[in-house]
Symmetry: C2
Subunit: 357 residues, 2 copies
DNA sequence: GTGTAAAAAGAAAGCGCTTAACAAAATAGA
DNA sequence: TCTATTTTGTTAAGCGCTTTCTTTTTACAC
């Protein structure tokens, strides 16, 4: 490891003072063009990179954003992170990534503690802003010490949370209407004539699940009624859909006409279970879901789902975060993106249209 | 934003000197238990977090690792990152995440420049170690300025690269045998009696593609021969498999008996194309691939693929990186993980067994 | 030439911390 | 009791930079 070259070295090489070199680095005006060019040349020749730690100490800016994410393997978050990375990079920020879920499910206390630790870490590092995706915030009830830690963090550093607003939290929230999206897909399935509809997937105690499930139930109750045997929660992954559908298929109960899967990945498992039983979607059982994950059009059948326009979430959240960092007045426009039904094959709408032609 | 509390404030509150407080923070022995406890109490009461920038300046350690990744949306990398995050966090490091691909494909110059910029950024931030996943390193030929920048980075900070060794690069490489995995799946397909086999997916000019394609061709040439019309490269995503398979299905050429997809996601698109043409895998066309992505067992048909044990890559890479950071002698054991065939449904091996019973 | 204002350059303080060097106090041995 | 040693605490330097305050240089008018 070579010894790092410092601003002092550059000053010496250029035969000038440290402060003049600093002025050149920071594009301060009061340096003559001649000297400026000379110094720039020397900086380039020696491949000098100013030490950001030192700059950060005095300027109180680290050009760093912390991203706290509960599950980096979830493509919903990955999508978000990659958007966030690009926008941040273009704005001159680098991301500190903090994942708070180890592997699989964790017990609640443990994950709460992990997030609180993350906040401490963030505080130590003096980042300029914090973005929180999912995690504890998704829970229906948040521990008091978590809320305290989060508010303390937000006292020191601007925090923007992508998720549903929670009471008592002072951070800024950017949210999507999770109720509405489940309502849309349930209405669609009902409109196609299905009356006995199952709900599969989602983790109990997590807000997105309760909201979507509530939407499902309320909507169902208008035209039909919910058979509680047909509501099977678990988590958000294909295995969950597979197990859920299988238990329905293997039970004594009458089979449903249709299934609302909590998201496309769960639907994937549902399809697999159906196929294993020689059944077919949409002909035997229609399946609809939410979230429009990438590549849903390659599933067999192509999945009918609800696009929440999550692709704009990262952009909006950063927009706010940058405003907070710069102490600007918040301008909460351009936030509304309504969920939108994407009709593909798995609910059978197109097939029905063809028949009616 | 509250004013941050500093070590000075703690010293004043504790009626002692800054250095004594520092000793307590750093668990230095020469402080009496009484004073130590008193100071610890005050630190806790005031929720004091030492400023890591300041600590980093003097100690030359930032407890930060940079992770440079070309495409954070690729689940192969996401898997890797999430492992890396957990291990790093447990070792007291936080990750700086730098994604170098914006969206979709980029032209080569642009992405080279993005990575070089990333290296500069890393240098400025004085991280303790760097991990590189994919990116330029994957290309068959690397630009000179890229190699120079990479070597300069490695001169200052330990760099570990997960990928195939490139000439002239001084960083440490951790690799998997990409040739072997394609060889395995091709052999499997040949052993099942297929002779006319297509190769779909992968990006020309990227090393993993050339290596797997070379393995495919060499293996094929032993028992059969390669019809160049049946080799269709593009990229690594379902669309690529879909388009590739479709073009085969729509062409005048005789259809292949089997397909080697470069990875499971490409195979996914292949299945979709087959299905659109009323064809079925493995009955009409067998499909095998590499990489054993998560949830492959939920595909229809369940995919037969080759597990590269990439799950151990992150662990091994960090193991080395930590050794380099601590200036330890490198101990390159436990590195061998042979690729392994996972037989599921899509090549038809099990069906054949049943028939023979 | 002198005088003055503006521009350019430099000196020095300080960001929050660690740590070497030193000083003081406590303990031990003679 | 007195010195030698160990333990505990303090002072101050310095990490690499920014920035305020000062000084020097330059430009221009008279």
């Amino acid at each position: 490891m070579k010894n790092k070259i410092t601003i002092k070295d550059i000053a010496k090489l250029a035969g000038t003072s440290v402060s003049t070199v600093s002025r050149v680095i920071n594009d301060s005006p009061s340096v003559s063009d001649k000297k400026r060019n000379h110094i720039k040349q020397i900086i380039a020749d020696n491949n000098f990179q100013p030490n950001m730690l030192a700059r950060g100490m005095v300027s109180n800016k680290t050009q760093t954003l912390a991203v706290v994410v509960s599950d980096i393997n979830n493509p919903y978050f990955t999508d978000l992170i990659s958007q966030i990375e690009v926008i941040s990079r273009n704005a001159g920020y680098t991301l500190l990534l903090i994942n708070t879920m180890t592997a699989g499910k964790m017990n609640k206390d443990n994950s709460t503690q992990l997030e609180i630790n993350a906040f401490k870490n963030i505080l130590e590092r003096h980042v300029d802003g914090v973005l929180i995706l999912g995690g504890e915030i998704d829970r229906e009830s948040v521990a008091d010490n978590y809320l305290t830690a989060l508010n303390e963090l937000n006292d020191q550093i601007p925090v923007v949370i992508i998720g549903q607003k929670i009471d008592g939290c002072n951070a800024l929230f950017v949210e999507r209407d999770q109720f509405r999206s489940a309502e849309i897909i349930t209405q669609h399935l009902l409109a196609l004539g299905n009356r006995r509809i199952a709900f599969i997937g989602g983790e109990p105690g997590i807000r997105i699940t309760s909201q979507r499930l509530a939407a499902f139930k309320e909507t169902m109750n208008i035209y039909s009624k919910v058979d509680e045997h047909l509501v099977i929660l678990n988590d958000y992954y294909p295995q969950s859909g597979y197990d859920g559908m299988n238990s329905l298929l293997n039970s004594e109960e009458k089979l449903p006409d249709a299934v609302v899967a909590i998201n496309d990945r769960v639907a994937w498992g549902v399809f697999r279970a159906l196929h294993d039983h020689g059944l077919n979607s949409p002909d035997d059982i229609a399946v609809g879901s939410c979230d429009a994950f990438p590549n849903g059009e390659f599933m067999t059948p192509r999945i009918t789902t609800v696009n929440q326009h999550n692709e704009s979430l990262g952009k909006i959240a950063l927009h706010f975060l940058f405003q907070l960092i710069d102490n600007k007045e918040l301008n909460r426009t351009e936030e509304t993106h309504l969920p939108e039904l994407i009709i593909r094959e798995s609910c059978g709408a197109k097939k029905r249209d063809e028949k009616n032609d």
